[in-house]
Symmetry: C2
Subunit: 460 residues, 2 copies
């Protein structure tokens, strides 16, 4: 240990390495609700891509498990370290290297936070459109989990908004993939392979993100519906309308009550309407032209009432912002309410009604509580699960995940598998795919140092 | 050979297998201008995914090279077979299995052509937005090359429009990747890895494509510019305008003269304007609302003249369609004019002026001709190269590709590397990436049967 610690200090400088008891509690995990926190043997804070590469070369030589860490806001335990391993923290690699208004890209280091990037790109009327609901998250973390969030219904997820990487391979090489272009057909797309790999294939040391023009006019419409089923049937019609909403969220009545209570938010909905509403749809529209936006809002209002909404409220600036923020903080509301797990299943949006029926049936069978909200336009459902008993919770989650997969969906839409959902992933996924992914993993990481135990690796 | 032929016939039926002299000339290559045509030992025409899997299992057992073939419209020789190998032709797997108007996807077999899919999706007001300029191309071929085309400036390339696959692995397993959802963070994205792999990793047997609403109103604006440089400087400004053009093409004066002559197309541009114009920009706009479209066209017209266009002509229905068709057929025009090679370099759009200057300088140094057109919004340049001498042409191409890479671009934006550009790819690409890609290839294809010699494989 002494030798490794010294060699790590030689790479990053003594002030940027800690080992043993000197490792801070911050580095012991993320925001996942399940799984213990683990103190790694080392924490290193590189400042350059070359330092990251040197660290990985050393780790491969010495067979030391490596866990990369951005802001630690993940929800699946993908940054939970190995007790004999090291955390590579990107907190010092947090520069915005370039904002390129001609090619509409920004080049950033992985540790930059979404709020920093948002502020800088706003100055030139552009924006990185991945909003996973936690603006202290890092762009590197987005790459790791293929983060999604609210605006994916219009702008896609992280993988649709990253054009290239510089990455350090576990074997110590630095490579560059992609570039400031949308098109390329020149070998395998290593950028896309690294995105969503949860730190198991390579560590991004520089990221080229796509920027979109920031449309100056936007509004938020809230529509109460008598049933959750009615909401789910409305969603595809709104997507098909051509109105191109950038937000299309559902919130069930229980979750709405909890988040508005927590946020001390009054939405001006009459009591009788609220009492008759089992679910809500939140629709965001934006436009470069104010009059066009007004026209679209009118079309949307008519469409919503046609689809069974009891009304359609155009939220004023402050309450709109507060509702979106409260919705983004739904995880914290659920956590405060004592939720035992948060999941983020995805299904084809047509399958949402069936999926939610199955999830409630599974909850009833296991005497559990399941409430939620989610990115309705994407079929991405966030469920807060209330079940203290680990065995029952495990059975419930298994049934929910199996139902989602049976309906053509997947276990995780945007949080990733990490440690938290690995056993379900390995039980439910096609063994041929697991085996193929393991071979791809070995192609990148022959010594198996990168995040062992995440996705499908060994848990030793 | 006899035994293998019999076993192949057992899988696909005697009528759907040919060997030796009975193999038709159609199966000897694609539309690449360089490289000899090669007759494979076998051609098989499977009807089901299970048949494809069985063929690959046999090929792995017997170490027989396999080349997948859609419509054979590729331009890089990626479907040129191995003389001892077999062609797997997807001509019988050409069904549209589902058009799903709720999730906005279609599920198709790989052999379906773009024109068939376009016609079927038009019936429900939706469309698959990859238009590589050849509507007889197959969707499976799009997957192989990550095809791009004119509308990528708005809708992205193939990889942005494919959500999932069923694929046969070289080892004989059938797997399903992705699904009818945009979001997923559940293991490595095998869909994206197979897209653009030019038939070297796995063979798609079913493809889930994203569909977009077909906007009912569109128009085409043609703007002559005094210099090519002025066109290139105008491009980023038009992309930034928020007008969201779905077509943004440049055509140099020589290419414009050739394609309008070939198409017997009169665009109503006065002689004096034409003589003073070195290049043209073609801008397509679309909208769900006719009045909004008119408003956008007016804004565009002002912008174009601000940017130095000598005028902006709104083309009438027939001439607009004819110009776009003639532009899509530019490859055939170049071929008819005796072009010796067609390339499709991509660079960041900001680098287009520098790149074209470098390309012309390289042409002058090698006494070659280089003219072209391209997807200006994407930085994707199609150059017709006139140079009969193979040594000089090789030097010219090397210099052009190196210049593109130096400017942050890539050798191919949408045609792929195939056999045609492999030597340049191997000479210019980072050896660490080539080695990593080779390891990924082996993870999929341990026996090396899939398209050996394409990208980086052995050429035996």
């Amino acid at each position: 240990m002494g030798d490794v610690a010294q060699r790590l200090a030689d790479i990053v400088g003594t002030d940027n390495m800690a080992s043993g008891d000197a490792v801070g509690d911050d580095y012991t995990g993320d925001e996942a609700l399940v799984g213990e926190r683990i103190k790694p043997r080392y924490v290193v804070k590189p400042a350059t891509a070359e330092e990251v590469a040197a660290i990985l070369r050393l780790a491969t030589e010495e067979r030391i498990p490596v866990t990369a860490r951005g802001s630690g806001t993940g929800l699946s335990g993908a940054v939970r370290p190995h007790p004999d391993g090291m955390v590579v923290s990107f907190e010092r690699m947090n520069a915005i290297l370039d904002i390129d208004t001609t090619n509409h890209v920004a080049v950033v280091q992985p540790g930059v936070t979404l709020s920093e990037l948002d502020a800088k790109t706003a100055e030139v009327g552009l924006g990185y459109t991945v909003y996973p609901g936690e603006m202290s998250a890092s762009v590197g973390g987005n790459v790791g989990t293929n983060a999604g969030g609210m605006r994916a219904v219009k702008y896609g997820v992280t993988r649709n908004n990253i054009l290239g990487l510089q990455a350090a391979l576990p074997t110590g090489e630095l490579i560059r993939t992609g570039g400031r272009t949308v098109k390329t057909s020149t070998g395998y797309d290593l950028t896309q392979l690294v995105i969503g790999s949860e730190g198991t294939l390579a560590l991004a040391t520089e990221i080229i993100v796509k920027l979109h023009p920031r449309l100056p006019h936007n509004t938020t419409v809230l529509a109460p519906f008598p049933t959750l089923n009615a909401v789910m049937h409305a969603v595809p019609r709104i997507v098909s309308s051509g109105l191109a909403p950038h937000i299309l969220e559902y919130i069930d009545a229980l979750t709405m009550a909890a988040i508005t209570h927590t946020a001390e938010l009054s939405l001006g909905i009459p009591d009788d309407v609220r009492e008759a509403s089992q679910a809500y749809l939140v629709v965001g529209l934006e436009n470069r032209d104010a009059d066009r936006l007004d026209g679209d809002v009118a079309v949307l209002g008519d469409l919503l009432t046609d689809l069974g909404a009891s009304d359609a409220y155009v939220l004023e600036g402050t309450s709109a912002r507060k509702l979106i923020e409260a919705r983004e903080k739904a995880f914290w509301t659920a956590k405060a309410a004592g939720a035992d797990e948060i999941i983020d299943v995805v299904v084809p949006r047509s399958a949402l009604p069936d999926f939610l029926t199955e999830a409630q049936a599974a909850a009833a069978r296991t005497e559990s509580g399941v409430v939620g909200c989610g990115h309705a336009g994407d079929g991405n459902v966030h469920l807060a699960v209330f079940q203290k008993d680990e065995g029952k919770r495990d059975r419930l989650l298994h049934e929910i995940f199996a139902a989602a997969m049976e309906l053509g969906g997947a276990i995780s839409g945007e949080h990733g598998i990490g440690h938290a959902k690995k056993t379900h992933f390995l039980r439910l996924e096609d063994p041929a795919k697991i085996e193929l992914m393991s071979r791809v993993k070995r192609a990148f990481d022959p010594a198996g140092i990168l995040n062992p135990g995440v996705l499908f690796g060994r848990e030793d």
